[in-house]
Point group: C2
Chain length 380, copies 2
């Protein structure tokens, strides 16, 4: 079995991730921050370790500004809805995932003005188009770092500079980049960063995070028990408690910490280099095939390890079904929850088949899939 669906969930995880989760569940599977006994303190301490190491990864000064969530979608909902109010204007792009577009569409009905900047046919976003869309009431810019459809790298540094200059909040969706591409929130001028735990960071599902800049006064979406100021019926306004109601996913967060440690030890640059080489190998192999359509910049300077393709007139579901059943290659067909991105690159009607590589994929696997696609392309 060849797993090329890392953009959905990375698989496998480093052994240390599995082991840390089991150790957490079996040795200190208590409720963090809810009691003062040894097991509760131990799990609380280890969650804080993950907070610290994640903060280090993103160059966040105060780990308390990094909060843990259920998934990146929750982080994005929090970041978008906690800041925008009636009469505000938000700018986003056509390359976004539905986790950005759907919350924004809900806000549009509540009186928030929305501008969606279009990408070019390779999925690229021109920062000038964002700058030109700024109005007097623009409060927030939201963009992805890397398109989950085409792998296109969005120039978040340039966009961050524009946002900073104009005093507009900038929320980055790191769903496809966290753990693989450098995200230095200070250097990049990012006010909020949403990220999943179960993709590039190599943690388990059920984990995610949101960095919230010190000066971002974000309303919380949910309230509940925080283990702090328990005598009050009002949500505490200290961080991270304000944004972390109810029991956290202790073992999951500890597993996420192990994933980040693995990345730092291995070197994020080395992981990215490996993924870039796999991507180049794959693109070069397919570029020679007549009936194969490739999307995106097709250059790893501008494209991450996410490659969308089509073969002949084959429906994307059919192609992925053949790859799975005949070749044991696991990829993802369809619209990838990014309808406007498909409109942008012209594949809205048929979708694409997406190959996405991870740190444990090999050149042999890439070669086998090139051979498989060659065979399939001859038959269509």
């Amino acid at each position: 079995m060849i797993y090329f669906d890392n953009a959905a969930t990375s698989f496998p995880k480093p052994d240390i991730v599995y082991d840390s989760i089991m150790e957490a569940m079996k040795k200190y599977g208590a409720n963090p921050g809810r009691s003062g006994h040894r097991m509760a303190l131990e799990v609380g301490r280890r969650i804080f370790e993950t907070r610290e190491i994640a903060a280090e990864l993103f160059n966040i000064e105060d780990p308390m500004n990094l909060i843990f969530t259920f998934n990146c979608t929750e982080s994005l909902n929090m970041g978008i809805k906690g800041i925008l109010e009636e009469g505000d204007h938000v700018i986003t792009t056509s390359m976004e995932h539905n986790s950005v577009l759907r919350p924004i569409k809900v806000l549009e009905k509540l009186g928030i003005e929305v501008t969606i900047v279009n990408g070019d046919p390779m999925g690229r976003i021109d920062p000038a188009h964002i700058e030109n869309s700024i109005k007097r009431n623009t409060k927030l810019i939201v963009t992805t770092h890397i398109s989950n459809l085409t792998g296109t790298i969005i120039p978040i540094k340039s966009i961050g500079e524009i946002a900073r200059e104009k005093g507009i909040y900038y929320l980055v969706d790191g769903a496809q980049s966290a753990g693989v591409y450098d995200i230095d929130i200070q250097n990049l001028g990012i006010d909020m960063l949403a990220f999943p735990g179960h993709k590039g960071l190599l943690g388990p599902q059920g984990t995610g995070g949101l960095y919230i800049g010190e000066d971002v006064d974000l309303k919380e979406i949910g309230q509940g028990g925080t283990g702090s100021t328990s005598h009050l019926l009002e949500q505490p306004d200290i961080r991270p408690d304000r944004y972390e109601s109810g029991t956290l996913n202790g073992p999951g967060i500890i597993g996420l910490g192990a994933g980040i440690k693995y990345i730092l030890k291995k070197g994020m640059d080395n992981i990215r280099k490996h993924e870039e080489e796999l991507t180049e190998h794959f693109i070069e192999g397919l570029a020679k095939l007549d009936k194969v359509s490739l999307y995106g910049p097709l250059d790893t300077k501008y494209q991450a390890a996410v490659v969308s393709i089509n073969v002949g007139d084959l429906d994307s579901s059919e192609l992925s079904y053949i790859l799975d059943q005949k070749y044991g290659i696991e990829v993802r067909p369809g619209l990838h929850c990014a309808p406007l991105a498909h409109k942008t690159i012209g594949t809205f009607e048929r979708g694409t088949v997406r190959f996405s590589f991870g740190p444990f994929n090999t050149h042999e696997e890439v070669e086998l899939s090139i051979v498989a696609i060659r065979e399939i392309s001859k038959e269509v």
Copy 2:
């Protein structure tokens, strides 16, 4: 080490829970419902199995009306905020956890009328007080099933009958009861049931659920990718997709399914009977001690395996610290995120130390803690 903090998170879990989670992560750790390949289908199928078995446990006809969440707090936020609008009236009780009270307090500021019915000094709620609080604009009644402070069992059947008769929605917080006490949503007249995965259901942290009655038109709190109707920028209105945005906690949900299977195999009645016997043993042992204050009905017909105590004038934190350090007994001190419940029973100033028993606790452990408390009580 004696773990008596099961009301916070149950510990340990049955071996099958640990094993199922690891198997899910290692053998089919893909993204459910996002792709069509074998691993994705397998994890999707197993998540559906948990949906079915949880539906069976609560006598829910259509498993699609049971949605998975991050934790019980998220479920409660969804159930409360998705139904109440400006001008509506909601009734709740003083025995609630902050996961109910804090969201309601936020809504109160937005023009929702709130009535909080007080419990008696044993934490009991009289259904007549709820009935008498009903107004023409009452839309929702929210109560816990079992107090997390005193273990008091709330008469949800009587309250459900009142709600049904008056055409008012009834949301039950099953945080302390799911997996131990029978919750038949049809028989009990429950419109929504919020529950955690990591307490009585013996699943891992990072899991929870909300049952939403067929005729409850609940607005969703979050939007995002659902793997369905991906061509639309609007959240789909099919269930469970409408309420499950972003990647679910696949291995966690599969572990939760294993926990429920364990309970069904062991027999929920047997588990409850065991916990009742431990509770009786503990209460009887402590009732003989002069300086020990016990709270709640102190009768397992009306009280679950949650017992709050104080010893002499000892601060609750100090008592739990001694129990932990000197005797290795892990309990929880303080306010337990239930400030009004403490006001109700008269312990708001000092808090209580809470003992909460689970299926793996033994009479020997209970006896050892009675001996420990006797020793401590002689020294204060």
